[in-house]
């Protein structure tokens, strides 16, 4: 059953990254658009994301719930030592969600929409940076785990681990990944005359992903960040990254040719490959502190707990996944919100 639980954890995490990532990316693409294409993007984003928007964000809740039930010690470290970046993520999610509703459900259209729009775009930009930052902080090797808080300053324990160049680079990398996912998603949904906008954007985003990934790794390598050196030396991680590099070629081709399903599939595959490569480099030791490694599987909850969680996940999954599938399928038909 532990494997079932781990599977659902990984599955939910990947889906969150891909679906919510594309969703964040939509705001980023909108932010970096010219005035006219912003309006087009806003319309397209709403058409595509509207019906599934809410569901996309529940994956993070599933991740959190699985962590706290099955891996309480691991979760405990995250919540105590990454309190501040997680709070920033929350603020971002809150403002973004609210801005999204306000701009689409206000009964009247008016000047205020400018405010909602900017709130939406800015929070779409910063939230993924904070999420990436949190991941970066987990593996930066700068965390100090201690019971003796008096021996350290507040800055050392609660700020330095995430407020550093490496974590920021990971944050930017994740942001670029979101923009990339979204640009590719939008190509398939745009009207004929607008497709070029997103073609250009997706190429720019692809280049950005590659560049920021490269910078992150180089910086980490030069500064002896254990996670990066291990990542570079791990054979499986290398294969996966190699595979993802090779896939860039068909991806760019299918983007150019306008094969929307293939390019979406390939873009999703890219993200899965990159994330899996990062995860297996150190699995199950996913938190690296200045002195030790903390494993996901240290002090797992008791067997009975894992079993009942596994059963709950299987039952929940078998109810939810078909429904979700239908929603995704139908949203191609159900396009325009008619209020």
């Amino acid at each position: 059953m532990l494997y079932v639980v781990l599977f659902f954890l990984l599955f939910s995490l990947l889906l969150y990254v891909i679906l919510a990532g594309a969703d964040f990316g939509a705001g980023i693409v909108e932010l970096f658009s010219s005035k006219e294409s912003r309006i087009i993007t806003k319309g397209t984003v709403y058409r595509v994301m509207g019906p599934i928007w809410e569901a996309n964000h529940i994956w993070i809740i599933i991740v959190i719930v699985i962590l706290w039930i099955a891996f309480p010690d691991f979760y405990n470290v995250l919540t105590v030592y990454l309190h501040i970046p997680l709070t920033l993520v929350l603020m971002g999610i809150t403002l973004r969600g609210v801005a999204f509703v306000f701009r689409h459900y206000d009964a009247y259209k008016g000047r205020l929409h400018k405010l909602y729009d900017w709130m939406f775009r800015i929070s779409s930009l910063v939230t993924p940076v904070f999420i990436g930052l949190t991941f970066g902080a987990m593996v930066s090797g700068k965390l100090i785990i201690t019971n003796n808080y008096a021996a350290y300053s507040f800055y050392e324990v609660f700020i330095a681990p995430w407020f550093n160049i490496f974590s920021l680079l990971v944050g930017f990398f994740f942001m670029a990944l979101c923009a990339f996912l979204s640009a590719i998603l939008l190509i398939g949904e745009a009207k004929k005359e607008d497709i070029n906008i997103y073609l250009k954007k997706s190429i720019v985003a692809t280049v950005l992903v590659i560049l920021s990934g490269f910078f992150t790794l180089t910086y980490g390598y030069l500064n002896d960040i254990i996670f990066v050196t291990d990542f570079i030396e791990n054979r499986y991680s290398n294969y996966l990254i190699l595979l993802s590099a090779i896939l860039i070629y068909p991806l760019l081709r299918s983007i150019k040719k306008g094969h929307k399903v293939t390019s979406r599939g390939l873009a999703g595959a890219q993200v899965i490959l990159i994330l899996t490569a990062a995860l297996i480099a150190h699995f199950p030791h996913l938190i690296l502190t200045s002195t030790s490694e903390i494993g996901l599987l240290d002090n797992v909850a008791s067997e009975k707990v894992i079993n009942s969680l596994g059963i709950a996940l299987i039952i929940g999954g078998s109810l939810i996944l078909p429904g979700l599938f239908h929603l995704f399928k139908s949203f191609k038909i159900i396009k325009v919100l008619d209020l």
Binding site: P51, W53, L90, F102, F154, S308, G316, I333, L337
Partner: protein
């Protein structure tokens, strides 16, 4: 303010905020599907306008509820890491089922909001029903988790370690049923009176009278039924507490001394230092009867328990008085509504509409007061008789800044949502039907 108090305040503040949105998300879908059904049956366009207007309300509240709920699920760990480390595996069961319920709700909402004229009529309506059912289910599930904090079960506690965990037993703890029942009724009472009150006010101001009367009737019918059942369920809760958390009962009633045939106090000012309640009305032997169904039963007073196990008596007592006072009032209001169905003349009186306008916020006030009774009454324990709140709080200093950040953020949200709702109503009143 120390770290613990800041964390407690933040928890209280965010929950008090979340529960408003969560309740609307639980109850509004029912109003919406009733209006929708009436539109399908009668093809009266008023019902269509009403359905669509309520649907926009549901969407706005759903998202605010969802983001504040997401914040809460992080906060449980961020503020109370020691609690979650031990409680997480034990009460994870209702939370993971709740996750499933939310998911189903979000999927159904996607279908419902975007399905107009695209899905088969019946199926479209049915997705609305699913929104309602899964909303209530998720409410019941979280409350079961809260019930466990009041009546911990499903584990052995030996030498500070939680062993032998049985998630199902923990889920079906002694408090889950009474609390979930009372909460579900409270949600219908609070939202029903609030919605009915808003429409009553529009009628009072003579705007779109026909539409608002239909809306009023749908909302108040749910609310009146719930409000009439509420005191009965509250009495069940009180009997439960008398067994399970006698300190809480003593604090609710501000009883310092153990007594046989204890009187019930109405109102009064609590003086914790001198252990007195002045300016109260006493109903002889009523408390013994309410708590144990026997006029001469012994009710334990606060002095029976060590001082460090007392909650803040004044807050709990006042909050309880507010809840019960409003509960009684709303029960009569519910009865009044059913009588008014026979006396159609009343519906022409402006006073009638004014009365329901004034009642609008009371349900929510009672609901928040009730939660304060439950939560503050549980103090100083985060898990009753097992773990103290002060041992659960995060070691990170500076929680007060976190608290202020949330206050600012949620205040802005509240203002914005209120304002959006006003615009919805203006829009509704301006539309031609």
């Amino acid at each position: 303010m120390d770290n613990l108090d800041a964390a407690r305040l933040q928890m209280a503040f965010t929950l008090i905020f979340h529960i408003i949105f969560a309740c609307v998300g639980m109850v509004m879908p029912f109003f919406m599907i009733v209006a929708h059904k009436k539109w399908l049956n009668t093809k009266n366009p008023i019902y269509l306008t009403l359905t669509k207007s309520w649907q926009r309300g549901v969407a706005i509240f759903f998202v605010t509820g969802a983001v504040s709920g997401t914040a809460l699920s992080f906060e449980l760990g961020l503020l109370w890491p020691e609690f979650m480390k031990h409680a997480g595996p034990i009460i994870g069961m209702p939370f993971s089922l709740e996750g499933a319920a939310f998911f189903i709700e979000a999927i159904a909402l996607g279908f419902y909001l975007y399905g107009w004229n695209k899905l088969p009529e019946k199926f479209h309506w049915f997705t609305g029903v699913i929104i309602g059912i899964s909303g209530v289910a998720s409410g019941i599930l979280v409350v079961a988790a809260n019930g466990w904090m009041n009546a911990p079960s499903g584990f052995d506690y030996i030498d500070g370690k939680f062993t032998n965990i049985d998630p199902v037993k923990a889920f079906l703890n002694d408090a889950w049923f009474t609390q979930a029942l009372h909460m579900a009724l409270a949600a219908f009472t609070a939202v029903g009176f609030a919605v009915a009150g808003i429409h009553a006010y529009q009628i009072y101001k003579k705007k779109q009278i026909e539409l608002h009367k239909k809306a009023f009737k749908i909302a108040i019918t749910f609310a009146a039924v719930a409000a009439i059942l509420q005191p009965i369920s509250g009495d069940l809760s009180a009997k439960d507490i008398a067994e399970r958390q006698p300190v809480k009962l003593a604090a609710m009633e501000a009883h310092f001394e153990t007594e046989k045939g204890a009187p019930l106090f109405l109102g009064g000012i609590v003086d914790e230092e001198n252990q007195e309640v002045s300016y109260k009305i006493e109903i002889p032997k009523a408390l013994s009867f309410l708590a144990f169904g026997d006029f001469d039963a012994e009710v334990k007073g606060l002095n029976e328990f060590p001082k460090e196990d007392h909650p803040n008596v004044a807050i709990v007592h006042y909050a309880f008085q507010v809840m019960v006072g409003i509960g009684t009032l709303l029960m009569f209001a519910g009865i009044l509504f059913f009588v008014s169905l026979k006396k159609k003349k009343w519906w022409e009186l402006n006073k009638f509409w004014l009365a329901f306008t004034i009642l609008a916020p009371l349900g929510f006030i009672a609901l928040e007061a009730g939660w304060i009774v439950t939560e503050v009454g549980r103090q100083p324990w985060i898990i009753h008789n097992i773990m103290r709140t002060k041992d659960a709080v995060t070691p990170m200093p500076g929680m007060i800044f976190s608290f202020y950040t949330y206050v600012v953020l949620y205040t802005i949200l509240t203002v914005a949502v209120t304002w959006l709702m006003r615009r919805q109503i203006q829009f509704l009143n301006a539309s031609k039907i």
